[in-house]
Symmetry: C3
Subunit: 247 residues, 3 copies
Amino acid sequence: MFKAIVSAETLRTALDSVSVLVDECKVHLNEDGIEIRAVDPANVGMVDLSLSADAFESYEADGGLIGVDLSRLEDIAGMADSAQLVELELDEETRKLHIQIDGLEYTLALIDPDSIRQEPDIPDLDLAAEIVIEGADIDRSVTAADMVSDHIALGVDETDELFYVDAEGDTDDVHLELDQSDLIDLQVGPAHSLFSLDYLKDMNKAIDKDAEVTLELGEEFPVKLHFDIAEGNGQVTFMLAPRIQSD
Amino acid sequence: MFKAIVSAETLRTALDSVSVLVDECKVHLNEDGIEIRAVDPANVGMVDLSLSADAFESYEADGGLIGVDLSRLEDIAGMADSAQLVELELDEETRKLHIQIDGLEYTLALIDPDSIRQEPDIPDLDLAAEIVIEGADIDRSVTAADMVSDHIALGVDETDELFYVDAEGDTDDVHLELDQSDLIDLQVGPAHSLFSLDYLKDMNKAIDKDAEVTLELGEEFPVKLHFDIAEGNGQVTFMLAPRIQSD
Amino acid sequence: MFKAIVSAETLRTALDSVSVLVDECKVHLNEDGIEIRAVDPANVGMVDLSLSADAFESYEADGGLIGVDLSRLEDIAGMADSAQLVELELDEETRKLHIQIDGLEYTLALIDPDSIRQEPDIPDLDLAAEIVIEGADIDRSVTAADMVSDHIALGVDETDELFYVDAEGDTDDVHLELDQSDLIDLQVGPAHSLFSLDYLKDMNKAIDKDAEVTLELGEEFPVKLHFDIAEGNGQVTFMLAPRIQSD
């Protein structure tokens, strides 16, 4: 059983954070909210999304699992205005999701969850440095790095107590340093890792410019990015595997 | 003789309603206004536009007929701001139309009307149901149907007294029901017909979101769509032939 | 030595006026400001830009010469908001330009000036007519002419004391007349020349709609366009060679 009402904006924000990595996903319809975990085909980027029942206008579920074509569902949610409500109801027998927006009913065929790539276990890593940064600073780091390179280094300078971003191109370089005063928070620790810019660009698309993003970073370790959505009633965690240093 | 002044917005609105179906058309320069009738090459969609002399700032004509390249004339009208006036004057000898916008003069070569597809006779049909609906509701019906199918069914449920839209895709379906309270007006009668979505999408482009559109509908019959333009000083009628039910 | 701070908007405006003609250019870092002169590969359009030290928040230079990839520098400047400051500093040893925008540092490799097309000498012409016109009128002349032709005639009617624009297409024509009252200023003299529309379209892109542009025009002679940028602290001169009359 699953029956819920949610604002189009909340639904779109939640879907966006997953669709930047995968096209299809499994959605857990838990009693206290929905949860989605997914990993991209190359096993490099992972996402863990939870959206609590409080993010919905109304929510009833008893623990089902459905498979969803994300772009299809995003298109449907995209027809509604931000503040409009989207009603979702699962038809257990036909395995279809009935979606209502102001009288318009869309019947979405679900995907067999068994045919969807297995959900990842997001590992519990003990990362030495933690940076709390505005989404806007992630955006300009990624945009600038993209002008010169296809990878980006993130690190912490323990001596000067600052977080840095580095991108080295064939002729041009980009470098950004943010200290305590530029950041929302910084816990220094040994940290320097290189990442694929393509993945970080995709993840950046799902991050609001004024979001508070917590980065957990280590030495040649994956980076974790956490941020809230839906006014704190939802949490997104991205994890991105490092690239081997090319020098 | 033809000499007229009209706001760029009125001119563009009028041209748009014809150009969604055809590239060239005959324009009747009647004493009391202009009239355009056109049918698409496949003979599926027709348009009848009349724009009375009252829609113009000034209007003089004595019954001529000209052939016009619509996209060319739309491009010219598109250079003006909405409220700017467009002056039109026919040079009978050279068969060119002189168009002035704030001192800029454009000389448009006309097309021999005989070389343009013959004008259709829009048949007088006795359609059983009449639905008066907002342009915005046509827009979302067409947009939603387009996500699942390339045809769309329009009909009236006489028992429940409602107008419905149906689109069936291979896996997903779209359904919309609008009753008396959702519509501006509804006269029930036996009505259900299937239409090509491509044509309805084109026609929808010419319909303002806040227009009042009258749909005349029957059983496997063409649909007629009527709406006003130019603050009631112009009328557009679209007619769309039905597709044979595929089931 | 070169070290300067300038608003992103001023930097972009200056670069735009050159990049409409060439991809790379030499920049003279004079004591009293920067100067750029460039000619397009076909030797048809030239630009002379000077941006005085007063256009900068701070400016120090001692006469160097650097070679710049314009689109690269425009991309960097494009990352900043209009009012944001861009810090530029030349590293003489590495021949790289360090560009800082709010803590983000971009290291731009310069181009060997000797590898860039030689700078033109903008000839001192004695042109008989001078027209001072709003950028918006140049824009609509160019836009309208582009609908019918790939060249445009500019001229002055000495008898009627007006400036005119003419474009003749295969079937359609465009004509615009602007007299003293439509122009900011007009000094009549024998003037009529034909120009390639492609070049004038490119130059038009660099001209603000509300700029005051001085056109110097003669009989089958190049046209010169002068306008201020950076609130009068910068001047741009375009020169465009005439095309031979095709009739």
